[in-house]
Amino acid sequence: MTSPSLKQTPLNAAHRRAGGRMVDFGGWDMPVQYPSGTVEEHLRTRTRAGLFDVSHMGEIDVRGQDAIAFINRICSNDVTKLVDGQAHYSALTTPAGTVVDDLLVYRFAPDHLMLVVNASTTEKDWDWINSHRAGEAVELKNVSPEWCQIAVQGPDALRVLQPLTPTPLDEIKYYHFREGEVDGVASIISRTGYTGEDGFEVYAAADRAEQLWNRLLEAGDGGTPEGITPCGLAARNTLRLESAMALYGHEIDETTTLLEANLGWICKLAKGDFIGRDALARQKEEGLKRKLVGFEVTERGIARDGHNVLIDGEVVGQVTSGSPAPFLKKNIGMAYVPVEHAGVGREIQIDVRGRAVAARIVPMPFYKREKKP
């Protein structure tokens, strides 16, 4: 049974009723998969729609006249570029240019923004952010317990969600959001996600989570072969891996810089000073020693997190995430390797429990959805 120390989202009972297999995920009691299984959940999200409980994510409210200036100083992306109703991907960086956490920044108003951070790092981030205030006029509040977050992802996401809300969803551009109602519940409707598909993330009051979850399942014909399916953390992981999105604690952490992780696009070195800027500028000038690459296993075998990468029998790096890719039907992974070996097409080997298995570096993302005309 559940360890009493594990945290629960407001959908915990719903997951258990639906037969979700619950695991300890960074201190949270979360469903790793439902009875339909990871492969089916993954494929349904690529072809129809998947429903994800991501209420464990942390939300930190930043209010005050210096909200933008403050966030711009502790995060790597340029938050001055956001307009009201827009969000972007960013990172909290250390002075060494490594990653405290990756996050989404939402701008509601010039003096009101919200940071959405990883579940297992919420407390660390909260302490970090508070300890790096430098006299800015900001009010910080960890509002994580107040919110649930439900993601509807996949090509059918808009059709599933639209009947439940008067907000015209097709008017919300990618990485934009609106405040509105879903099934009569005040919500933030954000066109974002972590699957590589079109979709929405809905934030609402935690005590309305079950209502929204059930209504979304109904609206998406959940339980039918062509309907929406609830998805566990395993499918969430394989979906993001096919789309080559970083996962904190795997591709990025306090030992990896943003540049090494191919996240130069959220490093706005020209925006002015921010924590880690000098280190990142120096690394950019001097050149990287290692970088994150994507690979495909070309022999029988599955690379897993932590496996060594070999070239000519020598260990040159480690796999950060490795798994079968259910949609691509290949065994793929990401790994850090020295830049001189990081070129696309390079043949490498993965040490799969003592067996050297051939793999090849390939372009990322592994999977990219076809944009509708």
Partner: protein, 130 residues
């Protein structure tokens, strides 16, 4: 509840063995396949390899995880189920039938008696999942 056929012997690592004369056929249980989830890869030994009871003879992988396979009885591998290379998902759909993994020539018949009967394995599952 997991399906536990009467005519097999079991281990606490969730393997089964069907003993017919000098030969033991080995696979993983319904409970094990269910716990693993979608099986995508099965790694098996070569014919002729010998193992002592409880040694690792291969591995089975789902999307999410790798599990080692422990041989219930000592013996020499006489046959390997090649079907599982192409259709590892059979482990989920037919764990006691089409997804048998290896056939071994038993080197110590006495070991079979130490394995769990179907009733004992069911009891074990009940205590595990309580």
């Amino acid at each position: 509840m997991a399906n536990v056929p009467e005519d097999l012997q079991y281990t606490k690592d969730h393997e089964w063995v069907r003993v017919e004369g000098e030969t033991g056929t080995v696979g993983i249980t319904d409970y094990a396949q269910h716990a693993l989830g979608d099986v995508v890869y099965v790694e098996l030994p070569k014919v002729g390899e010998s193992f002592a009871a409880q040694e690792v003879f291969g591995s089975v992988e789902s999307v999410k995880a790798v599990s080692e396979l422990f041989i219930p009885v000592s013996g020499k591998v006489a046959e390997v189920n090649e079907l599982l290379q192409e259709e590892p998902e059979k482990v989920n759909s037919d764990p006691y039938g089409a997804a048998w993994m290896i056939r071994v020539q038993l080197s110590n018949q006495g070991e079979v008696d130490a394995l769990l009967s179907a009733a004992e394995y069911e009891d074990f599952l009940n205590t595990e999942t309580e």
